[in-house]
Amino acid sequence: MNVKFVNLKRQYQQDKSEILKSIDNVSKKGDFILGNTLEKFEQRFSSFCDTKYSIGLNSGSDALFLYLKSLNLNKEDEIIIPSLSFVATAWAAGNSGAKLVYCDVGEDMNIDPIKLENCITKKTKVIIPVHLTGRVCDMKKIKHICDKYKIILLEDSAQAFGAKYYKKMAGSFGDVAAFSLHPLKILNVIGDGGILTTNKKKIANKIKLLRNHGLKNQDSILWGYNSRLDNIQAAVGNVKLNKIKKRIKLNQKFASIYNSELSNYLITPKVYEYEEPVFHRYIVHIDKNYRTKFKNFLLKNKIETRINYGIPLHLQKSSGYLEYKKGSLPVSEKLSKTMLSLPLYPELNINEIEFIVKKIKSYFK
């Protein structure tokens, strides 16, 4: 048996003919940019995520970037982001014109609400909690902090489509949320794509301008970008939305098997009764001195694993100008050395999950 870390081919094998048909429908009409197909996808996305407005963009990163740009921040302003995330969170904030402030994470790898409050200054304008691995941050506390200090709450929900926290959908807590439709996300398209969701009409209108050259009727009323979700990608998204509930359930099922079988050997992600993560990644932690050995053992048994966030954001070269030192955000640094992502996606079959479990157990015997 050979278990790949990701297996898009298997996923697309199932949906191939439906997807091709949906693409053909768009191409026959010659309707490629900002059309009905996109509008339909946006509406369905909104109703799934319990938000009023969804705006299709070129990528999840663009959703963060365009919204931050719309705020016209200056270099005195500060944006707080967690030190553990994919780099897109950092570049979107770093390129927005404001100063980037990193906040350490908790043992759950999400931003630590207590440390977050300590990061706040008079200049803090935006907080971007990242629902890493598809698990919603401690939004009660974070929302409370944002309300208390009147700070904008922008949820980086790139990995968390469909995740719930106290029965409320990821992306429905803050002022705005950014979702990604990248091929490796749970709801995905066959290229880059993203969605910004919000309940505020004013924000929705502004982002619609920014994604399409600032054009309103015949006037260019502000300087914008070109960041439109292609109708072709929206057509694929519509096909994928039909299957999403089933896919999320499978992820959750596999994760619960891992959790119950592996928690005696590895630090597995705790799932509290009030949360329903979607497990974009399933990350375990192991003593840093044994991680390489363990990873190699699994590889020898044809099980691919990955270290997804091996260098925290504040220690990336691109953050050099901010002058964070090693040890400044200790939890994220520690977790980056102990984390390991196991294969987990809906297209795995139960035999493969059992195989992985068996091999891991045999390592610890």
Partner: protein, 389 residues
């Protein structure tokens, strides 16, 4: 006059002679769909081998050393300017007679647009550039409008003299050349678009940056993909602006099977209209490229009298005549911070009131062209009659 928006293009399709040829072009796309089927089988969706092939194709088409597929033509310009690390107050010289994206890219990249007037070829007037150069000028963003390359001999001299890099907005100019040298190969950066209504089109947004400069190429490589050197190492804060494989597939198909014909047909149609319309007293032709230079007529413009009435008349006749664009960029609400008195955009202001665009794409037949010519003749005959009576 709402006549150039996506939504409007979609309505104009109902006109007999339309600018929009997409349903004709893609009514049978079996060959493209076959390739997409393979893509879906291999799941090579992001920066895969189709994008590499497209980049190879572009290096050949433009005779440049490096090419990078990006999210759109707008992004091509935005990333090129971002790579120059503009500071507040830095100036970029360009023209106001362009689509908003050209100037939008300058502003969003942190620059200040400085407008130079156009000549009677609708491109930047090279004799007016030097006057606008200051210590803060960081780039000249040339627009090869409608598919005609700017007067490069003069402009390259200026670029060399002041050591100011040139970025080419070649979004209209795939296949065009100036004295046999391809559009997009003159400057530090050549920017192309695959928007569905471009001569070389895809099924959504897409673009390419071409360059001969190695260090610039390295920077673009990072900027388009999150600044990532490898999966875990981020060297600089970049963006996400990658050409989708599926769009690369469509563009590669067009390059291989259609582009030459598209270009030829547009040139032929334009030459026909030039000959016929030149006979009408009220019509004047913009200055065209002379051999061995080649313009590709992404848009076909002539200057006319009674512009708005003529457009309305032709539209009524089922001819999709348009004005690209009735309001120049410097008169847009978004430009208010960059506008001052005496900008000297005399010709820009004059020509937007005289231009008209007529469809010349590959699906326009000779009888359509004759119909267009006759309609224009009729319009002016009628106008003359009214004036006499």
């Amino acid at each position: 006059m709402k006549n150039f928006y996506t939504s409007q293009y979609k309505k104009d399709i109902k006109k007999k002679i339309s600018h929009n040829y997409l349903p004709d072009q893609f009514k049978d796309s079996e060959q493209i769909l076959k390739k997409i089927k393979i893509l879906i089988k291999n799941c090579d969706f992001t920066l895969g081998k189709d994008v590499t092939l497209l980049e190879e194709n572009f290096k050949k088409l433009t005779k440049t050393k490096y090419a990078f597929g990006v999210g759109s033509g707008t992004d091509a310009m935005f990333l090129s300017l971002r790579a120059l690390d503009l500071n507040k107050g830095d100036e970029v010289i360009t023209t106001s007679f362009t689509f908003y994206a050209t100037v939008g890219a300058i502003v969003t990249a942190g620059g200040r647009p400085v407008f130079v007037d156009i000549g009677d070829d609708l491109n930047i007037d090279p004799n007016l550039i030097e006057k606008k150069i200051t210590k803060k000028t960081k780039a000249i963003l040339l627009v090869h409008w409608a598919g005609k390359v700017c007067d490069m001999d003069k402009i390259l001299k200026i670029s060399k003299k002041y050591k100011i890099p040139i970025i080419e907005d070649a979004c209209h100019a795939i296949g065009a050349n100036y004295k046999s040298k391809p559009a997009g190969s003159f400057g530090l950066s050549g920017c192309f678009s695959f928007h569905p209504l471009k001569n070389l089109n895809a099924w959504g947004d897409g673009g390419v940056i071409c360059t001969n400069n190695k260090s610039f190429a390295e920077k673009i490589y990072l900027l388009r993909n999150h600044g990532l050197v490898s999966r875990n190492v981020c060297k600089l804060f970049g963006y996400n602006s990658r050409l989708d494989s599926i769009q690369a597939i469509v563009a590669n198909f067009i390059i291989k099977n259609r582009l030459n014909n598209i270009t030829k047909k547009r040139i032929l149609n334009s030459k026909f209209l030039d000959n016929e319309l030149n006979k009408i007293k009220e019509i004047e032709l913009p200055i065209r490229s002379k051999a061995p230079s080649k313009e590709v007529f992404h848009l076909y413009h002539v200057f006319c009298k009674k512009q708005k009435q003529l457009v309305a008349y032709l539209n009524k006749k089922g001819i999709d005549a348009k004005i690209h664009y009735p309001i120049p960029v410097h008169k847009q609400p978004a430009a208010k911070n960059f506008v001052h008195k005496n900008m000297g955009l005399v010709n820009t202001d004059k020509q937007v009131r005289r231009i008209i665009s007529l469809p010349v794409h590959e699906y326009i037949k000779n009888k359509d062209l004759i119909f267009i010519v006759d309609a224009i003749k009729n319009f002016y005959n009628y106008e003359r009659k009214i004036r006499k009576s």
